[in-house]
Symmetry: C2
Subunit: 154 residues, 2 copies
């Protein structure tokens, strides 16, 4: 179940994909590698389906279990002010979820990360210091996430 032109159907195989955190036969978890939003994590369903309701209920539940496992570990290890969950797919209509840690000083808060920067008033130095601190936590977050996902999946 792949489509020739879909970039999410043709991710590089592990270990060539530097963003890949965990590959399961039915889904992958990747570091979104968005410098302004360190910790931003994506879950990509393997098969090329467009919407959640294209999946049978058991697969919907499995995918949400993964999404919420990511949320759980993200909260434990990064302590963001807010979690954002979204499955949009307007640009790449292959089912995937965004799990985004948000801080009140981040570039777009309290808007979505898809809204242009709205907080020029906050000193870049303060924001950058917080981003740097979070970036230092990423290896521990990623390792805890991998451990959690290993234990999750049959």
């Amino acid at each position: 179940m792949t489509q020739p032109a879909c970039p999410l159907c043709h991710l590089p195989p592990p270990p060539a994909d530097s963003a890949l955190l965990y590959a399961h036969p039915r889904w992958r978890v990747v570091d979104a590698q968005e410098p302004s939003f360190p910790g931003f994590t994506r879950i990509i369903w393997r098969d090329h389906v467009q919407e959640m309701t294209d999946l049978p209920v058991s697969d919907q539940q499995e995918l949400m279990t993964v999404v919420l496992a990511v949320e759980t570990v993200m909260r434990q290890k990064l302590s963001p002010d807010k979690i954002n969950l979204a499955s949009l797919g307007n640009q790449v209509p292959h089912l995937h979820w965004h799990v985004i840690p948000r801080w009140q000083d981040d570039a777009s808060f309290p808007q979505s990360v898809w809204t242009p920067t709205v907080q020029p008033a906050i000193a870049d130095t303060a924001r950058l210091a917080r981003q740097t601190a979070i970036t230092r936590c990423l290896p521990e977050y990623h390792q805890a996430l991998i451990n959690r996902l290993k234990n999750l999946s049959p």
Copy 2:
């Protein structure tokens, strides 16, 4: 479990809330009443919790069942080009979900609905004609949704 300053803890009681489609003891479904995005529907958890992982797993599953019931009926009745699902809560940190029908000619496609208008090139007349057609379908969509939600919930 309410907070004094939270607007989603103090929605008007039915039937005074014109946006309300269905009130269940644990959640409400409302028409978001966004003129540029007819059909935009919100699901609001009753208790004041911030994140999905603040809920026990059974409540997480119940809430996602409602979200995906909305998606199912929305696809059946409105046939959008894409569904957008999101739980952000940066501005109102009381757990709620957005289920948004998207069309390739809508004001922001393929960006998020939270991104400023990006399609000035598309003739307003064509977009408005499609919006009007969708708006005419809303009563049938809402009635089908209410029927589905009644059958869903114990």
